[in-house]
Symmetry: C2
Amino acid sequence: MPAKTDHDARRRDVSAAVWRVLAAQGFGGLTLRAVAAELGATTGLVTHYFPSKQALIVHALEVAETHTRALVPSLEGVHGLEALRQALAAVLPLTPEGTEINRVWVSSWDAALADPELRALEKARYKRWRSRLKPLVIEAQNDGDLPTGDPDDLVAALAAFTHGLVVQALFDPRTFPRQRLLAVLGSHLEGLRP
Amino acid sequence: MPAKTDHDARRRDVSAAVWRVLAAQGFGGLTLRAVAAELGATTGLVTHYFPSKQALIVHALEVAETHTRALVPSLEGVHGLEALRQALAAVLPLTPEGTEINRVWVSSWDAALADPELRALEKARYKRWRSRLKPLVIEAQNDGDLPTGDPDDLVAALAAFTHGLVVQALFDPRTFPRQRLLAVLGSHLEGLRP
């Protein structure tokens, strides 16, 4: 099935070009023309894959999701507060790839806030993230390592802390190098210990 | 000086139109053409004020800063942890205007991450915010209401918590209505009490 293989390979090339545009210029720089230039192809070819700007953005979010999933840690053999610490650390911009992924997500918020379909996708993404964190928070509460109280509020607060730290680090990586991000996360969790 | 007055009034009209475009469409929708349409004027007139897209964005950030300053609470007669709570609460999207301002700032991050000049402005804005919070954090530490340790780390963590909560609330206002935002902030600060 050479035709199928060619088609799949071409799709992968297009996705890779979308990612390179996003990583360099964010969603504000994501245009059919920019993807075509990155691919060394015509805008017409890119339009074949993405009939509209909206279709291109939705695909870009899928590409970002794939890159993000690759960074989710296994957490096998860890438990409670330490599992939570590892899960939150995995979201921080500790490596060039982690920085690239965060930069893409933060830059997606402009388009996502302006469009009901994209806004619903981001809302659902947040819900999925909070529901993955919730059992770890409950474990840590049961272990006496986090304060009692509504676990949903604690989850929201920890997700908030982590994303807010991501944003500060993206704008000021010298003030927030890898070691300091890990130290701020560690002392934040210790500070919550009852 | 009628000419001066006319010029000032026209500038105010232009700034108000920039703000309405930002509030409705974010930075991704901010174009000379959109401002002209909002103003009921020609693109040529808008170009007279903003010779480039970059000049328009820089002005939009100044307009956002003015709207934001109007929401900074006085904190007169309050102290330590309670002053900190009020300072952080004032940043949350608790009112339609607070929501509008936050939506504009979050949407500015796409353009700001893609441009060195805008990135430097946002980095400086974060530094100013953290340095305003720092004396309140130190007061609360001295009162025994916050854990000891590096106050800069605590400030960064609290700024992070607040902005991360803003983002979740913007995408999901039903899950994060005003009362819950205040409750999450309150219990977060209580959870940090040594």
